[in-house]
């Protein structure tokens, strides 16, 4: 969206990754510009989560190149990638159930060296975005509802003040109303703070409405790319991800 930067914030070129002999990514090219929301949609097992995790350094890329802000980060260990302020909210939320909400958020800040003031500012930002978390600050993570846990997972990722936020299926297992709240929060983050977001979703309709651009993944390859609105209009997308269940 922003025309100012000539190089994309994240550029993935010819990326391949595999689990043992099973190739999950077969040469992926994507670009994410600063200030964009990019959606990655596709069926189960298409390799969406693998792509996100490979960008984060685990599993390691077999071939290809990942560039973040012009620097090659292919093969850099995950904890160093996190220091470059790429944050990830993994699939299935994965908050720390026995630790309090406050500790969960603190864990997000721990991995990057940030000052006390930055940490406090980060907390305020998360509370402003998800006031519910503030109400539950002393509660254990495991006692939260699914939606609150997802808020906590996103809040935890935000505590590292990311330049790129990667979300893996934030609407997974949530009631539609709660899912909408989560998507609204992501939109707010993008509009107010200019946060760059890569969102992996099965809920293609929501994700493409939210995103500026989208990529469609099938069997480890990008098959379609375009703006969110364009992709929503494509008949094959509608058939495969939006209306397939209803009409078929």
């Amino acid at each position: 969206m922003t025309a100012a930067s000539t190089t994309p914030l994240l550029a993935v070129r010819g990326l391949r990754a595999a689990y043992g002999k099973i190739e999950a990514l077969k040469g992926i090219d994507i670009e994410i510009n600063a200030g964009e929301i990019v959606a990655l949609i596709g069926a189960n097992g298409a390799g969406k989560s693998t792509l996100m995790m490979t960008i984060f350094g685990k599993p390691r890329a077999r071939a290809g190149r990942i560039e973040f802000d012009g620097h090659d980060i292919t093969g850099v260990p995950t904890h160093e990638i996190a220091r470059l302020r790429i944050a990830q909210s993994p699939e299935g939320r994965r908050i720390f159930p026995r630790m309090s909400v406050a500790e969960n958020l603190q864990m997000g800040a721990d991995a990057t060296d940030c000052s006390e003031a930055e940490r406090a500012a980060g907390l305020e930002r998360v509370y402003a975005l998800f006031p519910r978390l503030k109400e539950r600050i002393a509660q254990r993570g495991g006692t939260l509802s699914g939606g609150e846990q997802q808020m906590l997972a996103i809040g935890r990722a935000l505590m590292s003040r990311p330049r790129l936020l990667m979300l893996d299926e934030p609407s997974l297992g949530l009631a539609p109303l709660i899912a909408r709240q989560i998507f609204d929060a992501i939109r707010t983050l993008n509009r107010q703070d200019g946060l760059t977001v890569l969102i992996v979703e099965q809920n293609a309709n929501h994700a493409l409405k939210l995103a500026h651009r989208g990529y469609v993944m099938v069997n480890g390859l990008i098959t379609l790319a375009g703006t969110g609105a364009e992709l929503l209009q494509r008949p094959e997308i509608r058939a495969a991800y939006l209306e397939g269940g209803r009409r078929g």
Binding site: K58, P77, H79, Q88, F96, M99, M107, A111, I137, A138
Partner: protein, 441 residues
């Protein structure tokens, strides 16, 4: 906000007098069926080789009545003191009394520990037992870092205890180094072995990790047994120097502490010195652990226990986190080992069997994974309680085993099952207990 989960609606009541009575009746019924043949009828080979039998209905009645009464007591206890999610009807005064006890238990125990040598000055047995309990408290706190905080199941903890003990024993007997020089060395060597164990098991978890650590403990013991030229093999190392008060020996000689202070020599002095030494070591372990828990590394340990994948996703260096946990735990084990060697004056591989690892692990699990106070209480229960039942002779193990089973039924998360938060809020918030139980997301 909606409740975390809806209760399955018409569940049968699990409290109330009728329920308790019904349950006791069922238990008594089961006991009657079970014991009617085992106890009620006694068979024996008669003088002619034939089978003779006689009945013992009196004994049977006593047993069934005991089960009936016991069942009522157990049920009452369960409801008063049971796991968090069971319904309970605890009278208000009992609740407040328990909260009061909970707050003052740790300081009271600490003060009592400091006063033990004063109170029991002439009771050598109690002093020795206290030293033993404190040694296990320290070992428990050390293992607690690895198992309780970092969640890495270590069945070979005794290996580090052995490394510490042999480090001191060999350095002192071969090079004449003093205890105070050897103590940090023993800790460093044990930590080094901790890292050495840590590397190959970085990718392992759960059962696999447990098996490798178990093997590691055995390897260390077997090496000690077989490396005769260095360790003396099964004969062990004897003549390990006693500790000195910074160079002043605690003996009957002219430059001993008693002579310097101008008081009469008593062998109790050394025991009391050892007592305060292990108390100090244990408290240092505790203090360091509490401090570490509030630092990023300690939080990372706990996060690692909770969810390794999430740790990676947050950019936590899982490798260093695991290795520091192993090293820290091993270091405390090494300190405890050095203390053990100087206290005993003689060590052999027999002191470092798997049973010790299992005992320390049991202390940590029984105490409630991660709870410092819980571990101390569990060490007191396991070591002290075991001594307490000495009068029961052959029933000792039975009673002890039963106590353990009951504890695990009532307190499945250990004696102190809750964990104190490490990130504090500006003001304390009271959290009601129904907010703290596990949700279903």
């Amino acid at each position: 906000m909606s409740a975390t989960s809806a209760r399955p609606s018409p569940a049968p009541p699990t409290s109330g007098a009728a329920f308790i009575f019904k349950k006791a009746l069922i238990s008594a019924g089961v006991a009657l069926v079970l014991f009617s043949l085992m106890i009620g009828v006694r068979t024996e080979a008669g003088p002619q080789g034939g089978l003779i039998y006689w009945t013992r209905f009196g004994d049977l009645a006593v047993l069934v009545a005991t089960v009936f009464g016991g069942s009522i007591i157990v049920e009452l206890l369960r409801q008063w003191w049971g796991p968090v999610d069971s319904d309970r009807f605890v009278p208000k005064p009992v609740q407040t009394a328990m909260a009061f006890a909970g707050r003052w238990l740790a300081p009271a125990l600490l003060v009592f520990a400091f006063l033990i040598p004063v109170i029991f000055y002439n009771q050598r047995y109690i002093l020795d037992l206290s030293i033993l309990v404190l040694t296990y408290v320290m070992l428990g706190w050390g293992l607690n870092v690895v198992v309780g905080l970092a969640g890495l199941l270590d069945l070979g903890y005794v290996a580090f205890y052995a490394v510490g003990a042999y480090s001191y024993a060999l350095l002192a007997t071969n090079f004449g180094l003093s205890f105070w020089v050897c103590l940090p060395l023993a800790g460093i060597l044990a930590a080094f072995w901790g890292v050495l164990l840590g590397f190959p098991v970085l990718r392992l978890r759960g059962d696999y990790l447990a098996i490798v650590t178990l093997a590691f403990g055995e390897i260390i013991r077997l090496v000690i047994i077989n490396w005769q030229s260095l360790t003396g093999g099964p004969n062990g190392v004897s003549g390990i120097p006693r500790p000195t008060l910074f160079g002043i020996p605690l003996d009957n000689s002219d430059d001993g502490l008693a002579a310097k202070l101008g008081i009469d020599f008593s062998p109790t002095h050394r025991i009391i010195f050892l007592f305060y030494l292990i108390l100090a070591l244990a408290l240092i372990t505790n203090w360091v652990t509490i401090r570490l828990r509030r630092l990023p590394i300690g939080r990372a340990w706990e996060a690692l226990r909770e969810d390794e994948v999430a740790c990676r996703a947050l950019g936590i260096n899982v490798t260093t986190t695991k290795l520091t946990a192993f090293a820290t735990g091993a270091m405390f084990g090494g300190f405890a080992g050095a203390f053990f060697a100087t206290r005993q004056g003689f060590i052999s591989p027999e002191s470092f069997t798997f049973q010790e690892s299992a005992l320390v692990l049991a202390i940590v699990v029984l105490g409630g994974m991660g709870s410092q106070l819980g571990v101390a209480l569990a060490a007191l229960t396991m070591i002290g309680g075991f001594e307490l039942f000495r009068g029961l002779d052959q029933y000792r193990m039975l009673v002890f085993g039963m106590a353990m089973v009951l504890l695990m039924i009532w307190r499945p998360r250990g004696l102190i099952g809750h964990r104190a938060p490490t990130v504090f809020l500006e003001r304390n918030q009271a959290i009601s207990s129904d907010l703290v139980k596990e949700g279903h997301g």
